[in-house]
Protein backbone atom coordinates (compact mmCIF):
# COMPACT_ATOMS: atom_id res chain seq x y z
CA UNK A 1 0.00 0.00 0.00
CA UNK A 2 3.02 2.29 0.20
CA UNK A 3 4.66 1.23 -3.04
CA UNK A 4 4.92 4.84 -4.15
CA UNK A 5 7.23 5.87 -1.32
CA UNK A 6 10.74 6.89 -2.28
CA UNK A 7 13.37 5.19 -0.19
CA UNK A 8 15.00 7.67 2.17
CA UNK A 9 18.75 7.57 2.63
CA UNK A 10 19.85 4.79 4.98
CA UNK A 11 23.01 6.52 6.10
CA UNK A 12 23.46 10.10 7.22
CA UNK A 13 23.59 12.24 4.07
CA UNK A 14 27.10 13.34 3.24
CA UNK A 15 26.00 16.26 1.16
CA UNK A 16 23.32 18.85 1.52
CA UNK A 17 22.08 18.38 -2.06
CA UNK A 18 21.50 14.68 -1.41
CA UNK A 19 19.37 15.56 1.57
CA UNK A 20 17.48 18.10 -0.44
CA UNK A 21 16.80 15.62 -3.21
CA UNK A 22 15.59 13.02 -0.71
CA UNK A 23 13.17 15.52 0.79
CA UNK A 24 11.85 16.41 -2.62
CA UNK A 25 11.36 12.73 -3.36
CA UNK A 26 9.48 12.24 -0.09
CA UNK A 27 7.28 15.24 -0.81
CA UNK A 28 6.45 13.86 -4.23
CA UNK A 29 5.64 10.50 -2.70
CA UNK A 30 3.38 12.32 -0.26
CA UNK A 31 1.36 13.91 -3.06
CA UNK A 32 1.01 10.53 -4.77
CA UNK A 33 -0.16 8.93 -1.54
CA UNK A 34 -2.74 11.64 -0.87
CA UNK A 35 -3.86 11.95 -4.49
CA UNK A 36 -6.58 9.26 -4.38
CA UNK A 37 -8.24 10.88 -1.35
CA UNK A 38 -7.96 14.39 -2.79
CA UNK A 39 -9.32 13.31 -6.18
CA UNK A 40 -12.36 11.60 -4.62
CA UNK A 41 -13.07 14.59 -2.38
CA UNK A 42 -12.61 17.02 -5.24
CA UNK A 43 -14.82 15.07 -7.63
CA UNK A 44 -17.69 14.58 -5.19
CA UNK A 45 -17.66 17.86 -3.25
CA UNK A 46 -15.74 20.68 -4.93
CA UNK A 47 -16.85 19.93 -8.48
CA UNK A 48 -20.58 19.64 -7.57
CA UNK A 49 -20.46 22.91 -5.66
CA UNK A 50 -19.08 24.69 -8.72
CA UNK A 51 -21.63 22.85 -10.86
CA UNK A 52 -24.35 23.92 -8.44
CA UNK A 53 -23.41 27.56 -8.96
CA UNK A 54 -23.57 27.03 -12.74
CA UNK A 55 -26.98 25.35 -12.41
CA UNK A 56 -28.31 28.14 -10.25
CA UNK A 57 -27.37 30.65 -12.96
CA UNK A 58 -28.90 28.67 -15.84
CA UNK A 59 -32.24 27.66 -17.24
CA UNK A 60 -32.25 23.96 -16.45
CA UNK A 61 -34.44 21.58 -18.41
CA UNK A 62 -34.71 18.12 -16.92
CA UNK A 63 -36.06 15.66 -19.45
CA UNK A 64 -36.50 11.92 -19.49
CA UNK A 65 -33.22 11.50 -21.35
CA UNK A 66 -31.09 13.83 -19.26
CA UNK A 67 -30.86 17.54 -18.68
CA UNK A 68 -30.01 20.61 -20.71
CA UNK A 69 -28.67 23.94 -19.63
CA UNK A 70 -30.26 26.91 -21.33
CA UNK A 71 -28.66 30.35 -21.34
CA UNK A 72 -27.26 32.16 -18.34
CA UNK A 73 -29.86 33.87 -16.18
CA UNK A 74 -30.35 35.46 -12.81
CA UNK A 75 -34.01 34.45 -12.83
CA UNK A 76 -33.55 31.57 -10.38
CA UNK A 77 -32.23 33.89 -7.71
CA UNK A 78 -34.83 36.59 -8.25
CA UNK A 79 -37.49 33.87 -8.19
CA UNK A 80 -36.49 32.56 -4.78
CA UNK A 81 -35.79 35.98 -3.27
CA UNK A 82 -39.29 37.10 -4.23
CA UNK A 83 -40.92 33.91 -2.98
CA UNK A 84 -42.56 34.18 0.43
CA UNK A 85 -41.82 30.50 1.15
CA UNK A 86 -38.08 31.03 0.71
CA UNK A 87 -38.04 34.13 2.91
CA UNK A 88 -40.01 32.28 5.56
CA UNK A 89 -37.72 29.22 5.31
CA UNK A 90 -34.72 31.49 5.77
CA UNK A 91 -36.24 33.17 8.84
CA UNK A 92 -37.35 29.84 10.25
CA UNK A 93 -33.95 28.18 9.74
CA UNK A 94 -32.05 31.08 11.29
CA UNK A 95 -34.44 31.39 14.24
CA UNK A 96 -34.53 27.66 14.80
CA UNK A 97 -30.72 27.45 14.68
CA UNK A 98 -30.21 30.34 17.11
CA UNK A 99 -32.71 29.07 19.68
CA UNK A 100 -31.84 25.37 19.62
CA UNK A 101 -28.08 25.93 19.60
CA UNK A 102 -28.33 28.41 22.48
CA UNK A 103 -30.40 26.04 24.60
CA UNK A 104 -28.19 23.09 23.73
CA UNK A 105 -24.98 24.90 24.63
CA UNK A 106 -26.39 26.10 27.97
CA UNK A 107 -27.80 22.68 28.92
CA UNK A 108 -24.77 20.85 27.53
CA UNK A 109 -22.45 23.01 29.63
CA UNK A 110 -24.54 22.34 32.73
CA UNK A 111 -24.39 18.60 32.08
CA UNK A 112 -20.64 18.78 31.54
CA UNK A 113 -20.08 20.77 34.75
CA UNK A 114 -21.99 18.17 36.73
CA UNK A 115 -20.36 15.21 34.98
CA UNK A 116 -16.88 16.64 35.54
CA UNK A 117 -17.45 16.42 39.31
CA UNK A 118 -18.60 12.81 39.13
CA UNK A 119 -16.11 10.52 40.76
CA UNK A 120 -17.99 7.31 40.06
CA UNK A 121 -19.75 6.18 36.92
CA UNK A 122 -18.52 8.93 34.64
CA UNK A 123 -17.69 6.44 31.88
CA UNK A 124 -21.18 4.98 31.96
CA UNK A 125 -22.75 8.42 32.06
CA UNK A 126 -20.79 9.42 28.97
CA UNK A 127 -21.80 6.23 27.18
CA UNK A 128 -25.44 7.14 27.85
CA UNK A 129 -24.80 10.62 26.44
CA UNK A 130 -23.43 9.02 23.28
CA UNK A 131 -26.60 7.03 22.59
CA UNK A 132 -28.79 9.90 21.33
CA UNK A 133 -25.82 11.19 19.30
CA UNK A 134 -25.41 7.85 17.51
CA UNK A 135 -29.12 7.44 16.88
CA UNK A 136 -30.48 7.65 13.35
CA UNK A 137 -32.31 11.01 13.17
CA UNK A 138 -35.13 9.44 11.16
CA UNK A 139 -35.74 7.06 14.07
CA UNK A 140 -35.74 9.75 16.73
CA UNK A 141 -38.12 11.76 14.52
CA UNK A 142 -40.51 8.78 14.26
CA UNK A 143 -40.23 8.23 18.00
CA UNK A 144 -41.11 11.84 18.81
CA UNK A 145 -43.90 11.68 16.24
CA UNK A 146 -45.37 8.79 18.23
CA UNK A 147 -44.86 10.63 21.52
CA UNK A 148 -46.65 13.73 20.14
CA UNK A 149 -49.39 11.73 18.42
CA UNK A 150 -52.74 13.52 18.92
CA UNK A 151 -54.99 10.73 20.19
CA UNK A 152 -52.76 8.14 21.82
CA UNK A 153 -49.37 9.85 22.18
CA UNK A 154 -47.78 9.65 25.61
CA UNK A 155 -47.14 13.43 25.70
CA UNK A 156 -50.89 13.95 25.53
CA UNK A 157 -51.44 11.45 28.35
CA UNK A 158 -48.80 13.15 30.52
CA UNK A 159 -50.15 16.65 29.84
CA UNK A 160 -53.63 15.48 30.79
CA UNK A 161 -52.37 13.79 33.93
CA UNK A 162 -50.95 17.07 35.21
CA UNK A 163 -54.03 19.02 34.11
CA UNK A 164 -52.67 20.83 31.06
CA UNK A 165 -55.41 19.59 28.76
CA UNK A 166 -55.02 18.46 25.15
CA UNK A 167 -52.48 20.64 23.37
CA UNK A 168 -52.15 20.04 19.62
CA UNK A 169 -48.45 19.30 19.48
CA UNK A 170 -47.93 19.08 15.74
CA UNK A 171 -51.21 20.46 14.38
CA UNK A 172 -50.60 24.21 14.77
CA UNK A 173 -47.50 26.18 13.76
CA UNK A 174 -45.98 27.45 17.02
CA UNK A 175 -46.45 24.27 19.06
CA UNK A 176 -45.14 22.27 16.09
CA UNK A 177 -41.97 24.37 16.00
CA UNK A 178 -41.49 24.05 19.77
CA UNK A 179 -42.15 20.30 19.67
CA UNK A 180 -39.57 19.90 16.94
CA UNK A 181 -37.06 21.92 18.93
CA UNK A 182 -37.58 19.67 21.95
CA UNK A 183 -36.89 16.59 19.82
CA UNK A 184 -33.75 18.23 18.43
CA UNK A 185 -32.53 19.37 21.84
CA UNK A 186 -33.02 15.87 23.23
CA UNK A 187 -30.84 14.38 20.51
CA UNK A 188 -28.02 16.89 20.34
CA UNK A 189 -27.55 18.35 23.83
CA UNK A 190 -25.60 15.23 24.92
CA UNK A 191 -23.19 15.81 22.02
CA UNK A 192 -22.48 19.35 23.25
CA UNK A 193 -22.15 17.98 26.79
CA UNK A 194 -19.44 15.53 25.75
CA UNK A 195 -17.40 18.12 23.87
CA UNK A 196 -17.61 20.63 26.73
CA UNK A 197 -16.78 17.91 29.26
CA UNK A 198 -13.69 16.96 27.26
CA UNK A 199 -12.60 20.61 27.26
CA UNK A 200 -13.40 20.93 30.97
CA UNK A 201 -11.25 18.04 32.18
CA UNK A 202 -8.28 19.44 30.27
CA UNK A 203 -8.33 22.75 32.18
CA UNK A 204 -5.42 23.26 34.59
CA UNK A 205 -6.38 22.29 38.13
CA UNK A 206 -4.24 24.80 40.02
CA UNK A 207 -6.34 27.85 39.07
CA UNK A 208 -9.38 26.19 40.62
CA UNK A 209 -7.46 25.36 43.78
CA UNK A 210 -6.28 28.95 43.98
CA UNK A 211 -9.85 30.19 43.59
CA UNK A 212 -11.00 27.87 46.35
CA UNK A 213 -8.27 29.03 48.69
CA UNK A 214 -9.33 32.62 47.98
CA UNK A 215 -12.84 31.61 49.00
CA UNK A 216 -14.50 32.26 45.64
CA UNK A 217 -18.06 30.98 45.36
CA UNK A 218 -19.02 28.41 42.73
CA UNK A 219 -20.85 31.09 40.76
CA UNK A 220 -17.86 33.48 40.74
CA UNK A 221 -15.47 30.64 39.91
CA UNK A 222 -17.60 29.70 36.93
CA UNK A 223 -17.93 33.17 35.43
CA UNK A 224 -14.43 34.40 36.27
CA UNK A 225 -12.38 31.26 35.63
CA UNK A 226 -14.17 28.31 34.04
CA UNK A 227 -16.10 30.22 31.40
CA UNK A 228 -13.19 32.27 30.01
CA UNK A 229 -10.92 29.22 29.91
CA UNK A 230 -13.65 27.15 28.31
CA UNK A 231 -14.49 29.71 25.66
CA UNK A 232 -12.51 28.07 22.80
CA UNK A 233 -14.21 24.73 23.43
CA UNK A 234 -17.63 26.37 23.66
CA UNK A 235 -16.97 28.26 20.44
CA UNK A 236 -16.08 25.11 18.54
CA UNK A 237 -19.06 23.19 19.93
CA UNK A 238 -21.34 26.09 19.00
CA UNK A 239 -19.89 26.32 15.50
CA UNK A 240 -20.34 22.57 14.94
CA UNK A 241 -23.94 22.76 16.07
CA UNK A 242 -24.76 25.88 14.04
CA UNK A 243 -23.51 24.15 10.90
CA UNK A 244 -25.51 21.01 11.63
CA UNK A 245 -28.67 22.85 12.61
CA UNK A 246 -28.54 25.01 9.50
CA UNK A 247 -28.69 21.90 7.32
CA UNK A 248 -31.85 20.75 9.15
CA UNK A 249 -33.65 18.21 6.97
CA UNK A 250 -34.28 14.74 8.43
CA UNK A 251 -36.28 15.88 11.43
CA UNK A 252 -38.94 18.04 9.68
CA UNK A 253 -39.08 15.61 6.73
CA UNK A 254 -40.26 12.81 9.00
CA UNK A 255 -41.85 14.59 11.97
CA UNK A 256 -43.93 17.31 10.31
CA UNK A 257 -43.33 17.09 6.56
CA UNK A 258 -42.56 20.80 6.83
CA UNK A 259 -46.05 21.59 8.08
CA UNK A 260 -48.57 22.51 9.22
CA UNK A 261 -48.58 24.64 6.07
CA UNK A 262 -44.95 25.53 5.61
CA UNK A 263 -44.33 26.45 9.25
CA UNK A 264 -41.48 23.97 9.80
CA UNK A 265 -40.00 24.00 6.29
CA UNK A 266 -36.25 24.56 6.59
CA UNK A 267 -34.06 25.77 3.73
CA UNK A 268 -32.77 22.25 3.04
CA UNK A 269 -36.29 20.81 3.05
CA UNK A 270 -37.51 23.59 0.75
CA UNK A 271 -34.60 22.94 -1.61
CA UNK A 272 -35.44 19.25 -1.66
CA UNK A 273 -39.13 19.89 -2.33
CA UNK A 274 -38.44 22.40 -5.09
CA UNK A 275 -36.04 20.01 -6.79
CA UNK A 276 -37.64 16.64 -6.38
CA UNK A 277 -41.33 17.38 -5.99
CA UNK A 278 -41.61 20.35 -8.37
CA UNK A 279 -38.67 19.09 -10.51
CA UNK A 280 -37.30 22.58 -10.90
CA UNK A 281 -33.56 22.32 -10.60
CA UNK A 282 -32.57 25.90 -11.36
CA UNK A 283 -34.35 27.43 -8.35
CA UNK A 284 -33.41 24.34 -6.30
CA UNK A 285 -29.74 24.93 -7.05
CA UNK A 286 -30.19 28.61 -6.20
CA UNK A 287 -31.58 27.61 -2.78
CA UNK A 288 -28.71 25.17 -2.25
CA UNK A 289 -26.11 27.75 -3.28
CA UNK A 290 -27.49 30.55 -1.12
CA UNK A 291 -27.69 28.17 1.85
CA UNK A 292 -24.04 27.23 1.37
CA UNK A 293 -23.02 30.86 1.01
CA UNK A 294 -24.89 31.76 4.20
CA UNK A 295 -23.22 28.91 6.08
CA UNK A 296 -19.77 30.01 4.92
CA UNK A 297 -20.46 33.66 5.70
CA UNK A 298 -21.81 32.68 9.12
CA UNK A 299 -18.69 30.64 9.84
CA UNK A 300 -16.37 33.47 8.90
CA UNK A 301 -18.27 36.05 10.97
CA UNK A 302 -18.43 33.69 13.93
CA UNK A 303 -14.71 32.94 13.81
CA UNK A 304 -13.90 36.66 13.47
CA UNK A 305 -16.00 37.60 16.50
CA UNK A 306 -14.67 34.68 18.46
CA UNK A 307 -11.06 35.50 17.62
CA UNK A 308 -11.59 39.14 18.58
CA UNK A 309 -13.04 37.99 21.90
CA UNK A 310 -10.11 35.69 22.59
CA UNK A 311 -7.73 38.52 21.70
CA UNK A 312 -9.53 40.88 24.08
CA UNK A 313 -9.48 38.26 26.82
CA UNK A 314 -5.75 37.78 26.40
CA UNK A 315 -5.06 41.52 26.58
CA UNK A 316 -7.23 42.01 29.64
Amino acid sequence: MVAGIAVPPRTAPAQRSDDHRARRGLARAGWWLSAPALVVIGAVTVFPIVFSIVLSLSNVNVTGAGFQLGGATGANYSEIVHAAVWRYALEFTVGYTVITVFVEVVLGTLIALVAARLTKGRGLFMALLLLPWSMITVISAELWGYIYQGTYGVADALFQAVGLGHPLFLGTPTPAIISMMVADIWKTTPFVGIIVLAGLVMLPEDVFEAAQIDGASGWTTFWRITFPLLRPTLAIATLFRILQAFGLFDLPFVLTGGGPGTSTTSLALLGYKVMFEDVSFGPGAAIATTTTALVLAGCIVFLRVFRAQVGAAKEA
Binding site: A37, A198, G247, D250, F253, G271, T292
Partner: protein, 279 residues
Protein backbone atom coordinates in the same frame (compact mmCIF):
# COMPACT_ATOMS: atom_id res chain seq x y z
CA UNK B 1 -11.45 18.66 39.44
CA UNK B 2 -13.01 15.75 41.30
CA UNK B 3 -10.48 16.02 44.09
CA UNK B 4 -11.91 19.24 45.50
CA UNK B 5 -13.75 19.15 48.80
CA UNK B 6 -17.46 18.85 48.24
CA UNK B 7 -20.23 20.19 50.43
CA UNK B 8 -22.96 17.64 51.20
CA UNK B 9 -25.74 19.84 49.82
CA UNK B 10 -23.84 20.35 46.57
CA UNK B 11 -23.39 16.61 46.32
CA UNK B 12 -27.10 15.95 46.67
CA UNK B 13 -27.83 18.59 44.06
CA UNK B 14 -25.31 17.07 41.73
CA UNK B 15 -26.69 13.56 42.02
CA UNK B 16 -30.21 14.88 41.53
CA UNK B 17 -29.10 16.61 38.33
CA UNK B 18 -27.36 13.47 37.10
CA UNK B 19 -30.47 11.42 37.84
CA UNK B 20 -32.65 13.93 35.99
CA UNK B 21 -30.39 13.91 32.94
CA UNK B 22 -30.28 10.11 32.92
CA UNK B 23 -34.08 9.92 33.09
CA UNK B 24 -34.57 12.53 30.37
CA UNK B 25 -32.19 10.75 28.01
CA UNK B 26 -33.29 7.23 28.84
CA UNK B 27 -37.08 7.73 28.90
CA UNK B 28 -37.55 8.15 25.13
CA UNK B 29 -35.17 5.23 24.53
CA UNK B 30 -37.22 3.10 26.91
CA UNK B 31 -40.36 4.18 25.11
CA UNK B 32 -38.91 3.07 21.78
CA UNK B 33 -38.04 -0.37 23.11
CA UNK B 34 -41.28 -0.80 25.08
CA UNK B 35 -43.44 0.25 22.12
CA UNK B 36 -41.68 -2.17 19.80
CA UNK B 37 -42.68 -4.99 22.16
CA UNK B 38 -46.37 -4.09 22.38
CA UNK B 39 -48.99 -5.86 20.34
CA UNK B 40 -50.01 -3.82 17.26
CA UNK B 41 -53.35 -3.05 18.96
CA UNK B 42 -51.77 -1.86 22.20
CA UNK B 43 -49.56 0.64 20.33
CA UNK B 44 -52.62 2.90 20.16
CA UNK B 45 -54.15 1.75 23.46
CA UNK B 46 -56.04 4.14 25.68
CA UNK B 47 -55.16 4.56 28.50
CA UNK B 48 -51.51 4.46 27.48
CA UNK B 49 -49.71 1.22 28.28
CA UNK B 50 -46.51 2.16 30.08
CA UNK B 51 -45.26 -1.42 30.31
CA UNK B 52 -45.96 -3.70 27.35
CA UNK B 53 -48.43 -6.38 28.34
CA UNK B 54 -48.44 -8.90 26.81
CA UNK B 55 -44.96 -8.73 25.36
CA UNK B 56 -45.19 -9.47 21.66
CA UNK B 57 -42.75 -9.90 18.82
CA UNK B 58 -45.45 -9.30 16.20
CA UNK B 59 -43.93 -5.95 15.20
CA UNK B 60 -40.56 -7.55 14.56
CA UNK B 61 -42.21 -10.19 12.45
CA UNK B 62 -44.12 -7.56 10.53
CA UNK B 63 -40.96 -5.52 9.88
CA UNK B 64 -39.05 -8.44 8.42
CA UNK B 65 -41.83 -10.49 6.82
CA UNK B 66 -44.30 -7.89 5.53
CA UNK B 67 -42.05 -4.89 5.04
CA UNK B 68 -38.87 -6.65 3.89
CA UNK B 69 -36.71 -4.82 6.42
CA UNK B 70 -33.93 -7.41 6.02
CA UNK B 71 -33.25 -6.04 2.54
CA UNK B 72 -32.71 -2.53 3.93
CA UNK B 73 -30.36 -3.85 6.60
CA UNK B 74 -28.34 -5.65 3.93
CA UNK B 75 -28.19 -2.47 1.79
CA UNK B 76 -27.07 -0.40 4.77
CA UNK B 77 -24.39 -2.95 5.66
CA UNK B 78 -23.02 -3.03 2.09
CA UNK B 79 -22.98 0.74 1.67
CA UNK B 80 -21.62 1.47 5.14
CA UNK B 81 -18.87 -1.15 5.09
CA UNK B 82 -17.89 -0.23 1.52
CA UNK B 83 -17.57 3.46 2.32
CA UNK B 84 -15.84 2.85 5.67
CA UNK B 85 -13.24 0.56 4.07
CA UNK B 86 -12.52 3.10 1.32
CA UNK B 87 -12.31 5.97 3.79
CA UNK B 88 -9.84 4.07 5.96
CA UNK B 89 -7.56 3.04 3.09
CA UNK B 90 -7.52 6.43 1.34
CA UNK B 91 -7.55 8.33 4.63
CA UNK B 92 -4.59 6.40 6.04
CA UNK B 93 -2.51 7.04 2.92
CA UNK B 94 -3.33 10.75 2.91
CA UNK B 95 -3.07 11.09 6.71
CA UNK B 96 0.36 9.46 6.64
CA UNK B 97 1.53 11.75 3.85
CA UNK B 98 0.20 14.92 5.53
CA UNK B 99 1.46 13.94 8.95
CA UNK B 100 4.93 12.60 8.22
CA UNK B 101 6.21 13.62 4.81
CA UNK B 102 7.81 17.01 4.11
CA UNK B 103 5.09 18.32 1.78
CA UNK B 104 4.60 21.99 1.06
CA UNK B 105 1.15 23.57 1.13
CA UNK B 106 -0.37 20.96 3.42
CA UNK B 107 -1.78 23.63 5.73
CA UNK B 108 -3.87 25.07 2.89
CA UNK B 109 -5.13 21.62 1.87
CA UNK B 110 -6.11 20.87 5.47
CA UNK B 111 -8.07 24.10 5.86
CA UNK B 112 -9.90 23.44 2.58
CA UNK B 113 -10.70 19.92 3.80
CA UNK B 114 -12.09 21.30 7.04
CA UNK B 115 -14.29 23.74 5.14
CA UNK B 116 -15.56 20.97 2.88
CA UNK B 117 -16.45 18.79 5.82
CA UNK B 118 -18.83 21.46 7.13
CA UNK B 119 -20.75 22.08 3.89
CA UNK B 120 -24.44 21.32 4.23
CA UNK B 121 -25.31 18.22 2.22
CA UNK B 122 -28.05 20.04 0.34
CA UNK B 123 -25.29 22.03 -1.42
CA UNK B 124 -24.12 19.00 -3.38
CA UNK B 125 -27.34 17.03 -3.72
CA UNK B 126 -28.80 18.76 -6.82
CA UNK B 127 -25.64 18.61 -8.98
CA UNK B 128 -24.72 15.11 -7.76
CA UNK B 129 -28.22 13.89 -8.55
CA UNK B 130 -27.95 15.14 -12.14
CA UNK B 131 -24.47 13.66 -12.56
CA UNK B 132 -25.47 10.29 -11.12
CA UNK B 133 -28.54 10.30 -13.34
CA UNK B 134 -26.40 10.94 -16.39
CA UNK B 135 -24.08 8.08 -15.37
CA UNK B 136 -27.06 5.79 -14.85
CA UNK B 137 -25.92 5.29 -11.28
CA UNK B 138 -29.16 6.23 -9.50
CA UNK B 139 -30.38 3.28 -7.44
CA UNK B 140 -27.06 1.51 -7.12
CA UNK B 141 -24.66 0.88 -4.25
CA UNK B 142 -21.92 3.06 -5.74
CA UNK B 143 -24.33 6.01 -5.83
CA UNK B 144 -23.97 6.13 -2.04
CA UNK B 145 -20.57 4.54 -1.44
CA UNK B 146 -18.73 7.17 -3.48
CA UNK B 147 -20.37 10.28 -1.94
CA UNK B 148 -20.17 8.81 1.58
CA UNK B 149 -16.46 8.16 1.05
CA UNK B 150 -15.88 11.71 -0.14
CA UNK B 151 -17.91 13.31 2.64
CA UNK B 152 -16.27 11.37 5.45
CA UNK B 153 -12.70 11.48 4.16
CA UNK B 154 -11.86 15.05 5.28
CA UNK B 155 -12.58 14.32 8.95
CA UNK B 156 -10.81 10.94 8.77
CA UNK B 157 -7.74 12.54 7.18
CA UNK B 158 -7.66 15.12 9.99
CA UNK B 159 -7.90 12.53 12.75
CA UNK B 160 -5.38 10.18 11.15
CA UNK B 161 -2.93 12.99 10.44
CA UNK B 162 -3.05 14.02 14.10
CA UNK B 163 -2.18 10.47 15.14
CA UNK B 164 0.62 10.10 12.59
CA UNK B 165 1.97 13.46 13.69
CA UNK B 166 2.20 12.27 17.28
CA UNK B 167 4.38 9.23 16.60
CA UNK B 168 7.99 9.96 17.62
CA UNK B 169 10.47 9.98 14.75
CA UNK B 170 13.00 8.07 16.87
CA UNK B 171 11.00 4.85 16.53
CA UNK B 172 11.13 5.11 12.78
CA UNK B 173 14.84 5.77 12.84
CA UNK B 174 15.50 2.90 15.22
CA UNK B 175 13.72 0.54 12.84
CA UNK B 176 15.73 1.92 9.96
CA UNK B 177 19.02 1.44 11.84
CA UNK B 178 17.95 -2.15 12.43
CA UNK B 179 17.84 -2.47 8.65
CA UNK B 180 14.07 -2.49 8.08
CA UNK B 181 12.87 -1.28 4.68
CA UNK B 182 10.61 1.77 4.43
CA UNK B 183 7.63 -0.37 3.56
CA UNK B 184 8.31 -2.59 6.54
CA UNK B 185 8.85 0.39 8.84
CA UNK B 186 5.50 1.90 7.92
CA UNK B 187 3.68 -1.41 8.17
CA UNK B 188 5.15 -2.71 11.42
CA UNK B 189 6.18 0.45 13.31
CA UNK B 190 4.04 3.40 12.26
CA UNK B 191 0.69 1.87 11.43
CA UNK B 192 0.28 0.01 14.74
CA UNK B 193 0.90 3.30 16.57
CA UNK B 194 -1.77 5.01 14.52
CA UNK B 195 -4.27 2.19 15.04
CA UNK B 196 -6.39 4.10 17.61
CA UNK B 197 -6.77 6.82 14.98
CA UNK B 198 -7.81 4.29 12.35
CA UNK B 199 -10.31 2.92 14.83
CA UNK B 200 -11.76 6.31 15.69
CA UNK B 201 -12.03 7.33 12.04
CA UNK B 202 -13.69 3.98 11.32
CA UNK B 203 -16.33 4.35 14.04
CA UNK B 204 -17.13 7.90 12.95
CA UNK B 205 -17.46 7.00 9.30
CA UNK B 206 -19.54 3.95 10.14
CA UNK B 207 -21.94 6.00 12.29
CA UNK B 208 -22.24 8.78 9.72
CA UNK B 209 -23.00 6.36 6.85
CA UNK B 210 -25.39 4.26 8.93
CA UNK B 211 -27.47 7.32 9.85
CA UNK B 212 -27.27 9.39 6.61
CA UNK B 213 -30.66 10.20 5.12
CA UNK B 214 -30.82 12.99 2.51
CA UNK B 215 -28.51 11.46 -0.10
CA UNK B 216 -29.84 7.95 0.48
CA UNK B 217 -33.36 9.31 -0.05
CA UNK B 218 -32.56 11.19 -3.24
CA UNK B 219 -30.10 8.80 -4.90
CA UNK B 220 -31.35 5.36 -3.81
CA UNK B 221 -35.08 5.49 -3.16
CA UNK B 222 -36.13 2.43 -5.17
CA UNK B 223 -37.26 -0.35 -2.88
CA UNK B 224 -34.36 -2.70 -3.60
CA UNK B 225 -31.66 -0.12 -2.73
CA UNK B 226 -33.20 1.65 0.25
CA UNK B 227 -30.97 1.91 3.31
CA UNK B 228 -32.36 1.62 6.85
CA UNK B 229 -33.20 5.33 7.39
CA UNK B 230 -34.96 5.61 4.01
CA UNK B 231 -36.77 2.32 4.52
CA UNK B 232 -38.02 3.39 7.95
CA UNK B 233 -39.03 6.88 6.78
CA UNK B 234 -41.04 5.43 3.88
CA UNK B 235 -42.72 2.60 5.84
CA UNK B 236 -46.48 2.59 5.59
CA UNK B 237 -48.71 4.86 3.54
CA UNK B 238 -49.40 8.60 3.74
CA UNK B 239 -52.44 7.91 5.91
CA UNK B 240 -51.19 5.14 8.20
CA UNK B 241 -47.90 5.28 10.13
CA UNK B 242 -47.17 1.73 11.40
CA UNK B 243 -45.39 2.85 14.56
CA UNK B 244 -44.99 -0.67 15.97
CA UNK B 245 -43.23 -1.90 12.85
CA UNK B 246 -41.11 1.24 12.70
CA UNK B 247 -39.94 0.82 16.29
CA UNK B 248 -39.15 -2.87 15.88
CA UNK B 249 -37.02 -1.98 12.84
CA UNK B 250 -35.53 0.93 14.78
CA UNK B 251 -34.43 -1.32 17.64
CA UNK B 252 -32.76 -3.65 15.15
CA UNK B 253 -31.02 -0.69 13.50
CA UNK B 254 -29.92 0.98 16.73
CA UNK B 255 -28.63 -2.03 18.66
CA UNK B 256 -25.47 -2.70 16.59
CA UNK B 257 -24.42 0.92 16.56
CA UNK B 258 -25.36 1.35 20.21
CA UNK B 259 -23.15 -1.61 21.16
CA UNK B 260 -20.34 -0.29 18.95
CA UNK B 261 -20.48 3.15 20.54
CA UNK B 262 -20.89 1.76 24.05
CA UNK B 263 -17.95 -0.65 23.81
CA UNK B 264 -15.66 1.83 22.05
CA UNK B 265 -16.82 4.96 23.88
CA UNK B 266 -13.24 5.97 24.70
CA UNK B 267 -12.34 6.13 21.02
CA UNK B 268 -15.54 7.95 20.15
CA UNK B 269 -14.90 10.57 22.80
CA UNK B 270 -11.28 10.92 21.73
CA UNK B 271 -12.47 11.40 18.15
CA UNK B 272 -15.01 14.02 19.16
CA UNK B 273 -12.36 15.89 21.09
CA UNK B 274 -9.71 15.50 18.39
CA UNK B 275 -12.16 16.96 15.93
CA UNK B 276 -13.57 19.58 18.22
CA UNK B 277 -10.83 20.71 20.55
CA UNK B 278 -7.63 20.18 18.63
CA UNK B 279 -9.08 20.73 15.17
Amino acid sequence: MGARRQRPLARVGRWATVALVVVLIAAPLYWLLASSLKTPVNIGASPTQYIPNPISLANYQSAFVHYGFGRYVLNSVIVTLGATALVLVLGTLAGYAFGRLPMRGVAVVLVVLLMISVFPEIAVVPPLYLVLRQLNWLNSYQALIVPYTAFNLPFAVWILRNYFLGIPHEMEEAARVDGASTLRTVWSVILPQALPGVFTAGIFTFTACWTEFLMALTFDSSNSYRTIPVGIALFGSPTVIPFGTIFAAAVVAIVPIGILVFVFRKWVVSGLTAGAVKG
